[in-house]
């Protein structure tokens, strides 16, 4: 092909080849890169936003917060039952709906101090840690199964050790648990928890290994036994 012919063809297609196509390609590439990297950058942007923002972030549109901390010297209405055990009166407990933030979960030794949600959906795990709604709330006398992301709110679980204290603060009382065991188990291992348990016990878990990206087959479980905190009176019948 002669130089003259080539120049002529370039002239003819110049608009399409050298202006429109590069622009489409540029925007297309940026769009694809944005779609690919936006989730990774969103955490950084959120953190930067929080650091430089003068205002407190308003999460009210994403979830409802019913948590009102119980002060040290406040007294909640209680009832003493036949077993001489004191219970929090049920009508003083605002039982959380799915998705509500209703407390805080604190493990000082692990640097964990997180919002506690009822339900372990996306919104809950994006903002804190969440109780599976097929398990029960603290004080109810059953299994409390709590999930949290390994790269954020439950990253500190890697420092969990036997004997450490876990505190759960709710609007109806503060509960203390002692870590009894940690274990790495398959996510599908159904022996890792017992949702039928008729005694209060706390199970926290996150993906394992801790700093691995993406889906993992394993979970790091932390088991804790109930130490203190006034149980909830489950029945509405009076039993003094």
């Amino acid at each position: 092909m002669s130089d003259k012919k080539r120049r002529h063809r370039h002239k003819k297609n110049g608009g399409k080849s050298f202006i429109i196509l590069p622009i489409i390609f540029l925007f297309g590439t940026y769009l694809v890169l944005y779609l690919a990297l936006a989730p990774s950058f969103s955490t950084v942007f959120s953190a930067v936003g929080l650091i430089f923002s003068d205002n407190e972030k308003d999460y009210s549109t994403e979830y409802e917060n019913i948590f009102v901390p119980v002060s040290e010297n406040s007294t909640l209405p209680t009832v003493t039952k036949e077993d001489n055990q004191t219970y929090v009166k049920i009508d003083a407990v605002e039982y959380p709906n799915y998705g509500n933030q209703f407390g805080e979960l604190i493990i000082e030794d692990c640097g964990i101090d997180n919002k506690l949600f009822f339900g372990d959906g996306e919104v809950a795990l994006r903002n804190g840690v969440g109780i599976y709604n097929g398990s029960f709330v603290p004080g109810y006398g059953g299994t409390i199964l709590v999930a949290g992301h390994n790269n954020t709110y439950f990253n500190g679980l890697k420092y969990a050790e036997k004997g450490q204290t876990v505190v759960i603060r709710t609007s109806y009382g503060n509960y203390e648990y002692r870590i009894t065991d940690t274990a790495v188990k398959k996510a599908t291992d159904r022996s890792a928890y017992d949702l039928n348990a008729d005694y209060e016990n706390l199970i926290m878990y996150t993906c394992y290994p801790f700093d691995e990206l993406g889906l993992t087959d394993y979970r790091f479980f932390v088991y804790a036994e109930y130490v203190s905190g006034t149980p909830i009176d489950k029945s509405t019948e009076e039993g003094e």
């Binding site: 989730p39 407990v93 709906n97 799915y98 992301h149 993906c207 990206l213 979970r219 029945s235």
Partner: protein
């Protein structure tokens, strides 16, 4: 004046000592429904029950409402009818039911939740049954399934790894392929033209 002062003081005292009461706890009507949910149904391969975690979810929901005795009786009657239907269906589990049978079972479910002003829908694609509370909020969402006594139907363990976007990776990969292919084509074409 004295009377007015007394009334005002009384009002202030009442306000100061008032404790907010919530519609919580499991009353006898709710307990009766929970007991009914825990009883088994005789199906083709033996006794089947609603999985533990589903009953727990019902218990958690009942803690947020106040069920009347009449509502409880209505619900139990519908559940009993539903169980009879399942027992006579000839199926081993809900998934084995024919389409028409599934529709009929869904009808029982809708009647049950309707007593509490709730609604129910089934998504054929995800095979998830969703129950909405009277405010339209999701109260329950899971695959309808029955298990042998004590078993759990769905794995409650969530994906708690990094919040990774697989679509992003696929898109990035596709973009890389397009870029490389485009580049190669350009080089080949240029070489051809120069030749």
């Amino acid at each position: 004046m004295k009377k007015l002062s007394a009334i005002l003081i009384a009002l202030v005292l009442v306000a100061a000592t008032a404790v907010t009461a919530f519609a919580a706890g499991i009353n006898s009507s709710e307990q009766a429904v929970l007991d009914e949910l825990k009883t088994s149904v005789a199906m083709k391969d033996g006794e089947m029950v609603i999985p533990t975690e589903y009953v727990n979810q019902a218990e958690n929901y009942f803690n947020t409402i106040e069920m009347t005795e009449a509502q409880s009786k209505d619900i139990i009657a519908i559940i009993e009818d539903g169980k009879k239907f399942l027992a006579n269906s000839g199926a081993s589990n809900i998934s084995d039911l024919t389409f028409a049978q599934k529709q009929e079972l869904l009808g029982y479910g809708k009647k049950v939740v309707g007593v509490l002003d709730m609604t129910m829908s089934y998504d054929k694609t995800t095979k998830k049954l969703t129950i909405f509370d009277p405010n339209g909020e999701v109260a329950f969402s899971a695959t309808p399934y029955l298990t042998k006594t004590g078993a759990i139907a769905e794995n409650p363990i969530k994906t708690t790894g990094s919040d990774i976007n697989y679509f992003g990776f696929i898109a990035l990969g596709a973009a890389a392929v397009v870029l490389v292919a485009g580049g190669t084509m350009f080089v080949v074409k240029t070489k051809k033209e120069r030749a």
